[in-house]
Amino acid sequence: MPRIGVYVCHCGGNISDVVDVEEVARFASRLPDVVVVRSITHMCSESGQRAILDDIRQHRLDRVVVAACSPQFQGRTFEKVLQKAGLNPALVEMANIREQSAWPHYRSPAEATEKAKVLTAMAVERVRRVRPVERETIPVGKEVLVIGGGIAGIQAALDLANAGFRVYLVEEKPTIGGHMAQLSRTFPTEDCASCILAPKMADVADHPNIHLLTYAEVLEVKGSLGDFRVRVKVKPRYVDPEKCTACGECEKVCPVSVPNEFDLGLTQRKAIYLPSPTAVPHAHLIDENACLGLVPLTCGLCARACEAGAINYDDSPKYLNLKVDTIIVATGFETFDPRLKPQYGYGRFENVITALELERIIVRMAEGEVLRPIGKRVAFIQCVGSRDAQVGNLYCSRICCMYATKLASLLKRADPSREVYVFYTDLRSYGKGFEEYYRTAQELGVKFIRGRPGELQEDPKTKEIILRVEDTLTRRILEKRFDLVVLSVGLVPSKGTLRIAELLKLPRSADGFIKEAHPKFRPVDTPVEGIFVAGTAQGPKDIPDTVAQASAAASRAMAIMNRGEIELSPIKAVVDEERCDGCGECVPHCPVEAISVDGVARVNPATCKGCGACIASCPREALDLKLFSNAEIMAEIEAALAGKKPGERRILVFADDMCTYTLADGVGTAKLPYPVEAYIIRVPSSSRVTPAMLVRAFALGADAVFLGECEEAVSPYPGTLAAIRENVRRAREALEAAGIEPERIQYSAFVTVMFKKFTGLLRSLAEAVKRYGEIPEEKRKALEGAVEVPG
């Protein structure tokens, strides 16, 4: 027989001013297995905690109920008290009589007291059935995969490698360096970009802890934190980088010229080429799509020119299987394609270019090569592909104001007689040293005009660009001819980012970039445990922010790996192997592919996120969820409906822990009233509530049931809304068959701030229940056995 202690908290008046706590305590003392009941001013205080500890010793308590505030608020406190007493922390339950009764129902103390009693009874009935769970750990090693070799990937790889971790750095291009290697100078300091980057690139190549895989592609990732299995394809270079001295003799004889992607097609390169002047690995490679001589061997000039004998036409792709413990995604951005804004004429007008092209022109000019004239009159147009509903990119790309300021300054400095204009909507110089840099540009004579040009026209004879804009500060329409118009193109997720997000099942935010686990407190974690994100794969950002984020991602990965093992959340799906016949019905219902069938269904505890969406799919009721088992939840349902008086109505509200439960706490804290007959039951995800449970609730006296779940975009569990829809459909069918209004079951998705939606939906459900009237006893009886109760 369990021995339960119940502690009712006054919360210094927060509860006791509304709820008659002594009445709740008297009521609790009559509940089954309860041996001690106390009411205490502050349960969470040291003296409150000591009271529990003393009682556990004196009265040999083995389970505890604290009727106080939200378990999200103080749950951990009381779990620690139990641990201190040598009890399993699962054996404490909180009845949330503050946020769910005293606060939202403060206007009707008598009803609030009755509700607090029921909430306490629910907690007692649940704790009677709770089974202690052991927290499992899995070992974690010290190997990391970094995907993407731009500045983010380089920084993360170096930090990890210097700390003694083994890094696989995979880059799809033949060299690392990313976009930063293409830039002229960096704002606001005007450092030469490749000069500060090249040494870091060389460090990567030399580092004994970094295994660099360039010209390589991640094909497949399986497994989870501590055991990611990665398949990588390394494309053939046809030149052995160990032997190649990058002397360039091969390039001289190669007969094929193609556009050089490093210069964005502004220059040509040969089919055998060095990808960039500072390429790492510093070796040539053959572009197999351009080379004449691979198959059949018709050319072979480069092989004859190569003194080192580095060229091998028989090279072939290599496939590697890696096992890593954590992954950092640093797959970067692409610039917005300005052809999608045809009114600016990019691709049609030769004097309209992108800012990245201007970067290459300036770099080449410094090297003594003039790729194109710049002219005396230059305009920059800001926000091309950013902050624009017409192309679907509502976000600010964050770096364009400053890179345009930088490029404008460089052009003005090179030739002070040049007229340089920047046409902007809002100028955002938010970073360290940015505002001062903006001022420097103004001192140089760069003109910032507040207006967004509608379209550009080309003078067909002179090829000058005619630009018209409203100066929105003087309300005049300005017109001017320019020799060069530079489009300050925004940032969009790179194709690699999109592909890797899909491969790793990483959710993306509305802007298309990879979503972080929490925008404030977990900014470099992804919702998938053990996978981190750094740099522009997560959203537009400049180099300092990218580097900071990369170091943050590296240290988050180190924090997990240094522990050597990780504790898994105890909430996991479990299979009753006696019942399971291995039909595999559950497999497709798992949103994270944690279930496999091997005679019987097996749940991988490292992958299972504990949503419980699988449970309702099992035809043999062999699945259950630890800590939120069928028996535990049914006990709560029964207690929530027990002692219902004639004419009284009760609505059960299943609330997912992440969104709806937090939302309900928020509603309570804001003292926003909602129907007092709504009783909230906390679940990891409402997809865990089976049709059988829903139907059983009505058989036991529920007048309506509401299921709340996280909105898909913020949910830790992908795909549970579909499972809820299906469960509700099945339960509604059973209700209808018994002649009960199926609309008595409702569900909705929330984020934690939708106070009005939550109270509004509950109010309209309560009103609908009033309209429907009481469910006659014979209809409730007809439900008995309509759907088997699992568990």
Binding site: A389, Q390, D426, T472
Partner: protein, 131 residues
């Protein structure tokens, strides 16, 4: 001399009314001016299209007396380019309603032949018969 415009409740009510009539959320406008340079009629206007929206935002009722709202040809050049997705053509139509609903400058279409009316006034008058 700069006259002071008071930001008052009547101005707020005017903004709300224009928003209801046009179905557009005008506080969204960030005053980039792309509508003005996209407008083929801007040279005929007394105030620019972007200035029309700004006037409504600050509750300046005199915008209903502007020439610009009648010059607007509802060509939708502004609408397809607005980065905030505002349909400015609907806004000028809403502003024209302020005058049309007062029933001043009523045009009898049967007698309008050969008279010099702005095209948009004729369109508005005709709309009365077509619903």
């Amino acid at each position: 001399m700069s006259e002071i415009t008071r930001l008052d409740e009547e101005g707020e009510a005017f903004l709300t009314k224009v928003e209801i009539l046009s179905g557009q959320k005008l506080t969204l406008c960030e005053q980039c001016g792309i509508c003005s340079t996209s407008c083929p009629m801007v040279e005929e206007m007394d105030i620019t299209p972007a200035a029309i929206i700004r006037a409504v935002q600050i509750g300046d009722r005199s915008v209903t007396e502007s020439k610009a709202i009648w010059v607007c040809a509802s060509c939708f050049s502004c609408t397809v380019r607005c980065p905030r997705g505002i349909d400015l053509a609907k806004v000028t139509e809403a502003l024209r309603q302020f005058t049309l609903r007062r029933d001043v400058n009523y045009i009898d279409l049967r007698e309008a032949q050969g008279e010099e009316y702005p095209t948009i006034a004729l369109v508005s008058a005709a709309r009365k018969f077509t619903g």
